[in-house]
Amino acid sequence: MKPKIENRRLIVPRMRSAFCVLRWSALVALTSLGLCGATAFAASPLAATVDQVQPKIVKIFGAGGVRGMENYQSGILISSEGHILTAFSHVLDTDYIDAVLADGRKFDAKLLGADPRLDVAVLKIQATGLPAFDLSKAGSAEAGARILCFSNIFEVAMGDEQATVQRGTVAVRTRLEARRGVFDTPYHGPVYVLDVTTNNPGAPGGALVSARGQLLGMLGKELRNSLNNTWLNYAVPIGELRQSVEEIEAGRFVARRDAPAEKKPEHSITLAALGVVLVPDMLERTPPFVDRVQPGSPAAKAGLRADDLVLLCGDRLVQSCKALGAELELIDYEDPVKLTVLRDQQLIELTLQPVTPSPSNKKGQL
């Protein structure tokens, strides 16, 4: 079974590099097994870790298989009775989900529940006595921690073939920011960014474990960082998933409301109300240069001038006229607006105090 090569990557050479990584990883997997099976099985600490983790990794097959949508992903056994933690994706959009265990046994899996907010799902197979991770014993890690990733990346493993193991390091613990669609995912919370190329078909739902074999996280879905056009290699910490997973397992999961998104006030402040006219918005990212300031306006009183370049609204970087508009929509029409502008290579902080309209005016606005 050859890995499918989908034409979904924008940067083709990277695909090739991913394959190189893969080939290498597969080699690690084989070597580790070889070491465990025959000779000095404890010579490498990673080999022992691999041997302990592999039986808990599940190959999942479901919907997809057309137009760049793979029909496979990975999962993690989290109970001896056959609960499987995996990524909530299109692969699960079917009544026929197959779960193939490390020993090659194939089971029909049932979707027990999912938390779309976390992109996480729990499957159940009819089995007992399975090796499994105990979520309550999952650990956490900091940047620099050596890690192993287990997944059926590119569908290299079939039947009783073991999942691919990749070696790497936690690059940083950070948050996926919700702002302005930097990352196209409903999940906006803490993640482990990894320095190994896991962002490829089949990896979602795989396990991130420490070099000592402690479960740390679940490999996330494919995600692109729109700020610098790179693919993000990341995993969601188990600590973030545990509560939802336990509730799904217990059959009492209630989809939580989305994290309080940035709430827009009923009446937002506008550039016009502040007396600011920006340069014409001609480009995708027109820098927000001030074209004119209305005399006597809040902007004029605060000292804003023509040719100032607005860099920050509050403490958020605004890189275009559109971005400034979007930031202002989050500010109530009566609240002060803090702008930082660049003027002659100096950063100047200004506070624009809107004129509170009289009640009759306010009515007129409505």
């Binding site: 990277r14 099985f41 940047a143 390091t169 790179t230 027109t286 820098p287 970087l317 660049l342």
Partner: protein
């Protein structure tokens, strides 16, 4: 069924027992190994901690959104403090969009406006400056002579949300990469850490991460390698060396010497000088063709590639000591490297060579009236035997040798005329730009080939596997493998061509002037696509493998859109294509400088009322500025293709391309 199930259970139980055994047996060993892992993890984190306060985040606003077809990200990107007074180095990749404003965010979270002080175009770095009220922390630098391939290398960036830098762990994969400019690592290097440091396990800075490519490329070269296991960093010691120049606001460029080395394989060829550009640093240092370079910058040199590598480390403005061997004499001098070289102009003696093999030297077919050769008394039928004391072996080598000298150079010739040897001196001039006379003597005697097998002649269909284009060609029916044939590639105007018509026109000309006609059809009737330039390269290679092709007379000829395509094709393939003959067309893109090794000539025909008349005049001026000889032909008032008479004049011009 039950049997299978039982086996499965047994198997899994067995596996479980096996796992337990493994864990138990390995416990003792693992204890030590786990400590090792912990120690390593702590060392990685500590190394990053040591540089963290000098690694800053850079945010930019405005600037171009696309460069070379790549949609630029908006950042943030990474920078490294290199001077407490607020100097910060970063990757030039982060600034190719030429942003309107640059903000530096210090690890404390404080934002400051920065300005771009200077760019290092050779190593793709930029230096930024922020005004500081208190000194910024700088890092310790790892000495270059302590770096070893295989040691830990940690790539550090600061591009994610939060107050922690991001890291990627790998090893040092190689030293002295990209002409000695970079060190290489297998740690994940990408826009997530371009501009950040590559540090050793002690937290000392080994280099600054940049995208680089071994192949020449534009400003985004190397980006395609991101996260591939191949990452580059500019050694910190090299950076320290040029920091004073960058701080002064001096933009740095690769340093050029203007020397070409003989031989096709730079990795095996000895470093023998083939040519020096006029007024180039090499020429000014007194280096001459034939010299063997034995030392550069104090380092011994034994192969051609080392010359490129040594020069690759240098900047324009640098002085590089050089030692050459001329005969048995060692000559030492200095190369004052420059950013730009003057284009080369081929010197012209004023003869056309015979193309048939001779026992000695090269026979003269024609002497240009009023040329240096004519003034020195050379006549048709003479045999050129030696040049500057070196005996002459063949026509192409002689062309190359004469062309390496520029107009004004004096050359010493030995000429044999009916047995007697005469010594002559001639001062070379520029290649004339007039059209040739009506009657030229034949380029070869009637050779009777002894070849038994001949390739296909007459009208021949050609096929290049990856291209769908239909291609006709005509090989003179009297084709003789002993005689070198010119190749003319015809690129038709929009609308295609009729083969029968084309053949009727070209057959007599091809037969008379030893010319092979190759006429591809564009895949879309209406126009040529730029990708089809590759087709011409492939056709020329195929024809060159089948027939005896004269490398001095490979011409691409086109009318209207086909003419523009001819320029595009020729500029891309200077190694093979010797001339473009364009009718009612102007060059696409900028012509490269005239090159001593690869001669290039242009024939441009246009009408006064041609819509492109103005552009044609500009193009001619620009080509001449690059020292490319240009012949222009007026077509009268209204734009049209060449008449029969003009066409035979063009073919005579092609016949004279091996002039020297």
């Amino acid at each position: 069924m039950s049997g299978i199930r039982a086996w499965q259970i047994n198997a899994s139980r067995a596996a479980a027992i096996f796992v337990l055994t493994v864990v138990a047996c390995s416990a003792a060993v693992r204890g030590i190994a786990a400590d090792e892992t912990t120690a390593e993890e702590q060392a990685f984190a500590a190394a990053v901690d040591r540089v963290a306060s000098s690694v800053v985040q850079i945010e930019t606003t405005g600037g171009r959104e696309q460069v070379e077809g790549l949609l630029l990200g908006t950042g943030p990107t990474t920078g490294l403090v290199v001077d407490p007074q607020g100097y910060i180095i970063s990757s030039a990749f982060n600034f190719i969009g030429n942003p309107a404003s640059i903000l530096v965010r210090l690890p404390s979270g404080k934002r400051m406006a920065a300005r771009l002080v200077a760019t290092d175009h050779a190593r793709m770095l930029v230096l930024l400056k922020v005004d500081v009220d208190r000194p910024l922390p700088v890092c310790e630098v790892a000495p270059r002579n302590q770096m070893r391939v295989g040691q830990w290398a940690i790539a550090v960036g600061r591009t994610f949300a939060g107050d922690r830098p991001n890291m990627a762990v790998g090893i040092l994969s190689a030293l002295d990469r990209i002409s000695g400019r970079a060190i290489q690592t297998d740690a994940a290097v990408s826009p997530n850490n371009y501009g950040g440091p590559l540090v050793d396990i002690q937290g000392r800075v080994m280099g600054v991460l940049v995208p680089l490519s071994a192949q020449p490329g534009g400003q985004i070269a190397g980006m395609e390698l991101y996260d591939s296991g191949i990452g580059f960093a500019i050694p910190a010691e090299d950076l320290q060396r040029v920091l004073p120049r960058l701080k002064k606001g001096e933009d740095l460029h690769p340093g050029l010497a203007g020397v070409s080395i003989q031989g096709a394989n730079q990795f095996t060829a000895p470093p023998i000088v083939a040519a020096c550009r006029a007024k180039s640093p090499a020429a000014l240092a007194g280096i001459k063709p034939g010299d063997r370079i034995v030392e550069l910058g104090g380092r011994p040199i034994s192969r051609a590639i080392q010359v490129r590598d040594e020069l690759g480390r240098c900047y324009a403005g640098d002085k590089l000591s050089v030692v050459v061997l001329r005969g048995k004499q060692r000559i030492a001098s200095d190369l004052a490297l420059v950013e730009k070289l003057e284009p080369h102009q081929h010197g012209f003696l004023g003869v056309l060579p015979m193309r048939s093999e001779t026992d000695e030297g090269v026979a003269v077919r024609y002497v240009y009236p009023g040329s240096p050769a004519a003034a020195a008394g050379v006549a048709a039928g003479d045999v050129l035997v030696s040049l500057a004391g070196e005996s002459i072996h063949d026509r192409l080598e002689l062309m190359q040798t004469i062309g390496m000298s520029e107009p004004g150079a004096e050359i010493a010739l030995e000429v044999r005329r009916s047995g007697a040897l005469r010594k002559l001196k001639a001062t070379l001039v520029a290649t004339p730009e007039e059209l040739p006379p009506v009657d030229l003597p034949a380029a070869h005697e009637n050779v009777k080939s002894h070849a038994v097998e001949r390739p296909a002649v007459g009208a021949v269909r050609l096929k290049i596997p990856e291209h769908n284009n239909k291609v006709w060609s005509y090989v003179p029916t009297g084709y003789d493998p002993e005689i070198p044939y010119g190749v003319l590639v015809w690129l038709h105007p929009p609308g295609g061509y009729e083969w029968e018509e084309l053949l009727a026109r070209w057959k007599p000309l091809c037969d008379k002037h030893d010319l092979i006609l190759v006429a591809p059809k564009s895949t879309t009737q209406s126009r040529w696509m730029p990708e089809e330039a590759m087709l011409v390269d492939r056709l020329l290679m195929q024809v060159g493998m089948t027939y005896n092709v004269d490398p001095a007379r490979i011409v691409v000829h086109g009318y209207e859109g086909g003419g523009a395509m001819a320029f595009l094709t020729a500029f891309r393939n200077r190694q093979m294509i010797r001339a473009v003959a364009a009718v009612e067309a102007v060059p696409v893109g900028s012509a490269p400088d005239n090159d001593p090794q690869f001669r290039f000539s242009v024939y441009l025909a246009s009408a006064e009322k041609s819509p492109s008349a103005r552009s044609v005049r500009q193009a001619v001026a620009s080509l001449r500025k690059k020292k490319i000889p240009v012949v222009t032909k007026g077509l009268g008032e209204t734009p049209r293709y060449l008449s029969d008479e003009e066409l035979s004049e063009l073919v005579r011009w092609i016949d004279m391309l091996d002039r020297m």
